[in-house]
């Protein structure tokens, strides 16, 4: 029987698609993982609901907007945290990660050299403050919220992936956050997925 969920995004490994894939992987839930080349997307774009990716198809309906998708996927797979306050906290951490990722993309995609340097400097100030806040709010047993894996942990891991590749000791001063990254890496589904995923430029 075909998987219930069909996820379509670009081939890029990081970025907005990857968190969705990590959620399904961590939960051990099968999904159709469609990865498009830019050219293939160009042909599909006009007929798609919002003219953008990623999109998730389920039961004949289409959901767009990465935030809506990963929130939905997390709920469907039980990785959104206990309903009510815990769920809101998970949401909060994930939204906060968006701030970090947007700044990182800002640097990566900036063509103008002078502006790029400016943005790099701004990022260098932003990141320690950001991590300090998160460390303060983070739980102490390897999870940002609660006592078991939520997609906040996956979002943090995904967001930090790039930073940690360049600076493996980036979380040295943030033991709780470092523990979160370890917990995620230790998840069987995530470990398998990461070992097998294609390496890409971005």
């Amino acid at each position: 029987m075909a998987p219930k969920y069909k996820f379509t995004y670009f081939k890029a490994s990081v970025g907005r698609g990857e968190l969705v894939r990590l959620i399904f992987a961590a939960a051990g839930v099968e999904f159709e993982d469609v990865r498009l080349e830019r050219e293939e997307w160009r042909l599909l774009k006009e007929t798609s609901p919002m003219g953008q990716l990623p999109m998730l198809e389920v039961g004949g309906q289409v959901i767009c907007q990465s935030g809506a998708i990963f929130r939905y996927a997390a709920k469907e797979t039980g990785l959104s945290g206990a309903a009510g306050w815990e769920e809101a906290q998970v949401d909060m951490f994930v939204s906060g990660m968006e701030d970090l990722t947007m700044k990182m993309y800002g640097v990566y995609f900036e063509r103008d050299e002078a502006k790029k340097e400016e943005k790099k400097t701004a990022l260098a100030t932003f990141v320690p403050n950001f991590l300090r806040n998160y460390e303060k709010l983070c739980g102490s047993d390897g999870h940002l919220v609660g006592t078991s894996l939520t997609y906040a942990d996956l979002a943090f891991f995904n967001g930090m992936d790039d930073i940690l590749k360049k600076q493996p000791d980036a979380l040295e001063k943030y033991p709780r956050l470092a523990k979160v990254v370890e917990s995620v890496k230790a998840n069987k589904g995530v470990a398998t997925y990461i070992a097998e995923r294609p390496e890409t430029l971005l």
């Binding site: 929130r71 769920e87 809101a88 949401d91 939204s95 906060g96």
Partner: protein, 204 residues
């Protein structure tokens, strides 16, 4: 005893108003704390993530405007009937709220330099056309973006739409389904009452 909610934001609509609209639509009381920009610096380090809005509930604090709005929507039953409806509502919120929630009031009230104003207006015009186009394409046709009853996405949309109408009156006429959503929200008795309040000290 019902939970006590305290919302803290600046005395503007922008990122705080969606939550205020949700409380209003649900008829749920809350403390609506509004700061002037001068009051902000000493308060900043006491907030979870160094930003506003924040929501305090039973001694705990939540940050991130849409996490707050989503939480209040859930608490008041305005988030959607099932996971799929909630996701569709989320998609509209993600599309329409940022970055216009801050860019339009900045354009209307907080940019004085002529060149900066011109550049920002160009950017805002492009965002409005793009986002209203997408939302119109996907909106329901009975006065609600999703489903057939008021959800928080209608209120998040209303907040942006009212800024758009303040900036360029008549824009919504080109988007009939969205115009219907706008009218439906405005006509909601609790929202209508809320909208009678005078504007905040900055006028946006």
């Amino acid at each position: 005893m019902a939970p006590k909610y305290k919302l803290t934001y600046f005395d503007v609509r922008s990122r705080g108003e969606p939550t205020r609209l949700i409380f209003a639509a649900a008829g749920v009381e809350y403390e609506d704390v509004r700061l002037s920009f001068e009051q902000w610096p000493p308060i900043k380090p006491t907030t979870p993530m160094g930003g506003l809005p924040m929501l305090e509930v039973d001694g705990k604090t939540l940050s991130q405007s849409m996490s707050i709005a989503r939480f209040v929507a859930k608490e008041t039953g305005l988030d959607g009937k099932n996971n799929l409806e909630r996701a569709l509502a989320d998609a509209f919120v993600d599309e329409i709220h940022e970055p216009l929630a801050a860019k339009i009031p900045t354009l209307l009230a907080f940019t004085t330099d002529e060149k900066a104003k011109e550049d920002l207006a160009k950017e805002v015009d492009q965002l409005i056309a793009e986002k209203l186009g997408k939302c119109e394409r996907n909106s329901g046709s009975v006065g609600h973006l999703v489903g057939n009853s008021l959800l928080w996405c209608d209120l998040v949309f209303y907040n942006i739409a009212s800024y758009i109408e303040a900036y360029k009156p008549g824009t919504l006429q080109n988007y009939p389904k969205l115009a219907k959503v706008y009218a439906t929200v405005k006509a909601n008795p609790r929202i209508a009452k809320w909208l009678e309040r005078p504007a905040g000290q900055y006028g946006v």
